[in-house]
């Protein structure tokens, strides 16, 4: 299943090319849904051809590799090279093509660092990988990714942020549908910086499906960046079409949200209403997007090609604390389609997740509702530690206090759209 190949990486200037050229041995796995491609990898293309690698290392000895086959498919793998040895993908899992169905979005790695110099570490494929590469050594991978691609990406991102500023100026004043999530926080701050305090308004729709913790984050970001905020109550749970929890539940939620928010924005002189939909979202199952279109809500981030990764990087550059915040869909996303969404159930889920956060659980976290059973999904990096019997008992007791009779820990860990997989809901 693997097609071996050598990748050569060089700087663009001839004077430095010889000194910086590095050889990276790489193999790409074919995926279930993407045919292997054999074209040479030059490392100079900012976006297009497969595979694209981006790297940055926030601290010595740690790199994050972003592997894509061109948008929108990409995967995120963190490789710890502090005890540099060889790193190798878990070939068995790649060979099984597992998992390969998810497209776009954020994906955490499932990695185990090499335990001592010279030992082999295992980097398991992250969720969402449709096509990836097999690295010969961590050092080579690190060097290869540093030389060109980071620079290209910075230039590319600067182009997008300039384009966003121009877009906002052309459509001012702008009201942002604001949740305090990664995307809308960036958009609200960008609008405030571009248009000034009077030119941007962030509007929060509050309901039982919106976690109080996220509301607090939203307010904190707005305060810090001097973004004007307006809050509206929404009542999607009073709509029986929403409460019945069909697979297009988000359509009814967004219909309620935009139906309330857009008239208020217009009445206050904000002719343009925008949301934080990004380019990755366009490849996911998002029935709420239809409601946005029906209410003439624009999505400049998606329109200008901002991926989730772009937004995280741009947020980090601006010092927006949400840059590393896990994705945070509404609480109803924890309830399987077809199971009624009620305020009580949402409260249970919210309590359970908040309690688990207080235990120190970081990264992606979901408490999935299965009637009497809560199924907890943790970031893969957290999983092993919480499978220790005493900690699992603590986790179980904590979630049970939220009113669940039974508590289970998912062995695979967090999967975005996990319930879609369980219930067979795919891309529209």
């Amino acid at each position: 299943m693997f097609g071996g190949r050598e990748i050569w990486e060089s700087r663009k200037t001839p004077a430095t090319a010889a000194a910086t050229r590095r050889k990276v041995t790489a193999r790409r796995a074919t995926s279930l849904n993407t045919p292997a491609r054999r074209e040479p990898y030059t490392g100079t293309s900012p976006i297009i051809t497969a595979p694209r690698l981006l790297a940055r290392w926030p601290q010595r000895g740690h790199i994050e590799a972003y592997v894509t086959t061109g948008p929108p498919q990409w995967a995120h793998t963190a490789i710890d090279t502090r005890n540099t040895g060889e790193v190798d993908l878990d070939r068995d899992r790649w060979d099984r093509g597992e998992p390969t169905q998810r497209r776009g979005g954020d994906h955490n790695s499932n990695s185990a660092p090499a335990s001592r110099p010279g030992s082999r570490g295992i980097v398991a494929p992250c969720a969402g990988a449709a096509d990836c590469l097999r690295a010969g050594t961590a050092d080579s991978l690190l060097i290869a990714m540093d030389l060109d691609l980071d620079a290209n990406t910075e230039a590319e991102l600067a182009g997008k942020t300039d384009a966003l500023a121009a877009w906002l100026r052309a459509h001012a004043p702008v009201a942002v549908g604001y949740s305090g999530g990664v995307d809308s926080a960036y958009l609200a701050v960008a609008a405030r910086r571009t248009l000034g305090a009077e030119g941007a308004l962030a509007i929060i729709g509050r309901s039982a499906s919106y976690p109080a913790e996220q509301w607090a984050t939203a307010r904190a970001v707005a305060d810090r960046f001097d973004v004007r905020v307006l809050e509206l109550d929404t009542a999607e749970l009073d709509d029986p079409r929403y409460a019945a929890n069909p697979s297009n539940r988000c359509y009814y939620c967004k219909t309620e949200l935009w139906g309330r928010l857009v008239p208020v924005a217009h009445a206050r002189g904000f002719s343009t209403v925008v949301d934080g939909t990004n380019a990755d979202d366009l490849n996911d199952y998002r029935p709420g997007a239809q409601a946005a279109r029906e209410h003439h809500v624009a999505s400049p981030l998606a329109e200008l090609g901002f991926t989730k990764l772009d937004i995280r990087r741009a947020s980090r550059a601006l010092g927006i604390p949400t840059w590393q915040q896990p994705s945070s869909p509404c609480l109803s996303s924890r309830v399987p389609y077809g199971t009624e969404v009620t305020r009580g159930r949402l409260r249970q889920i919210e309590l359970a997740e908040a309690s688990l956060r207080r235990l120190g659980i970081a990264g992606d976290l979901r408490v999935r509702f299965h009637d009497d059973l809560a199924r907890v999904e943790l970031a893969p990096a957290e999983l092993s530690a919480w499978l220790a019997p005493d900690r699992l008992a603590l986790l179980t007791a904590t979630v049970a206090q939220a009113g669940f009779a039974r508590v289970a820990l998912d062995l695979r860990g967090f999967r975005s759209g996990s319930l879609n997989v369980l219930h067979g809901v795919g891309l529209a």
């Binding site: 398991a124 092993s384 699992l392 179980t396 998912d410 062995l411 695979r412 369980l422 067979g424």
Partner: protein
């Protein structure tokens, strides 16, 4: 059961999955909820699943037997008293 899961339900084989997991040396009961295989291991088996390779093996087996999700439930005192032996997986559907 309120769930319908992706894939061919007829390909799901809880009995075979329980047997395959037992062959790994992990003693557990198995409860099926649609595409979710819920493992109820003996108390002293939980730590085994801390190992990535053991977890991957279980996940792989579950996929082979038609399940999309696998979760582990810590046995309550009640369940602990009725924990099955390795060769006698408890199946509940």
């Amino acid at each position: 059961m309120t769930e319908e899961s992706r894939g061919d339900r007829s390909s799901r084989n809880a009995v075979a999955l329980a047997a395959a997991i037992a062959k790994l040396g992990i003693r557990c009961a198995l409860e099926v909820r649609g595409g979710l295989a819920l493992l109820l291991p003996a108390p002293d088996e939980v730590a085994v699943l801390q190992q990535d390779e053991n977890r991957r093996a279980v996940l792989s087996l579950a996929k082979e037997h038609g399940f999309t999700h696998v979760a582990i439930e810590l046995p309550s005192d009640h369940r602990r008293s009725s924990t099955p032996q390795a060769d006698a997986p408890l199946l509940r559907d």
